[in-house]
Symmetry: C2
Subunit: 149 residues, 2 copies
């Protein structure tokens, strides 16, 4: 597996992985494409056997000194045994550090279907730092994880 | 005092109030102008004797159903006795409700110079819901207030 900053030719692979993530809504899948096409966001991609098997999308938060949002992480379901999720998190942290970033913020949902996502963030060393009740919709909280680099 | 959605001719007054807020950094003042010039954000303005004396800037958070960010509130120092801050908060809540908003989120700094700002949000009925340590810069936390409408 090789992880590096995404190149224009990775667009199709990123969108193919995105399409395979059942947990993403159609609106969220459209958002990934918009973030890519905007060109203002950074993507790291993991390749395996010449295919994109996962990616992260991240960027510095406006009006902060060195705080980065991890907007998306996605790993193709067929490739999850390879440890690409953890490797992508570590590669994102390295890239953020290289840019003098100090803090990474991850926002996710408190819904049951995101339980394995939340367990993943805790498992790779992120701390739950805040909850905003009913943020996404009634009954769907925002849960904020951070890692101080 | 009259509070209503901002019109193009309010731009100058909004920027004049912004320039008078000592607590805003130059970068933050520039951000207000960018938000106005973008045209994608909503502003409510308070007028008194034909002058803009304060404003709020707000908008719906992407990927939520009815959660709104209050990005900025500013009241000219010369007009603070008029209660424009509280009136602007109430007017913003009414406007958000009119659009089927359920939740307003306010983010501010944990620094000492923002102590009166934080007291203001508590005083108008917002709850402190979360803190992200060192968010803006080392030693400068993010404090998140919410009101569930």
């Amino acid at each position: 597996m090789k992880i590096e900053m995404a190149k224009p030719e990775d667009r199709q692979g990123i969108l193919a992985v995105t399409a395979n993530i059942d947990i993403f809504t159609d609106e969220e899948k459209d958002t990934v494409r918009e973030l890519w096409d905007d060109g203002d966001y950074d993507f790291l991609v993991a390749h395996h056997n010449g295919q994109v098997i996962g990616y992260t999308c991240f960027g510095e938060r406006a009006l902060t000194e060195g705080s980065y949002d991890l907007y998306w992480i996605a790993v193709d379901p067929s490739a999850r045994r390879l440890g690409a999720g953890k490797a992508l998190m570590r590669a994102t942290e390295s890239e953020v550090k290289k840019r003098s970033g100090r803090l990474i913020i991850v926002e996710t949902s408190g819904m049951e279907k995101y339980e394995s996502t939340r367990a993943f963030y805790l498992g790779v060393g992120y701390q739950q730092e805040a909850v905003i009740r009913d943020f996404y919709k009634p009954g769907d909280d925002l849960v904020i994880y951070t890692v101080h680099l």
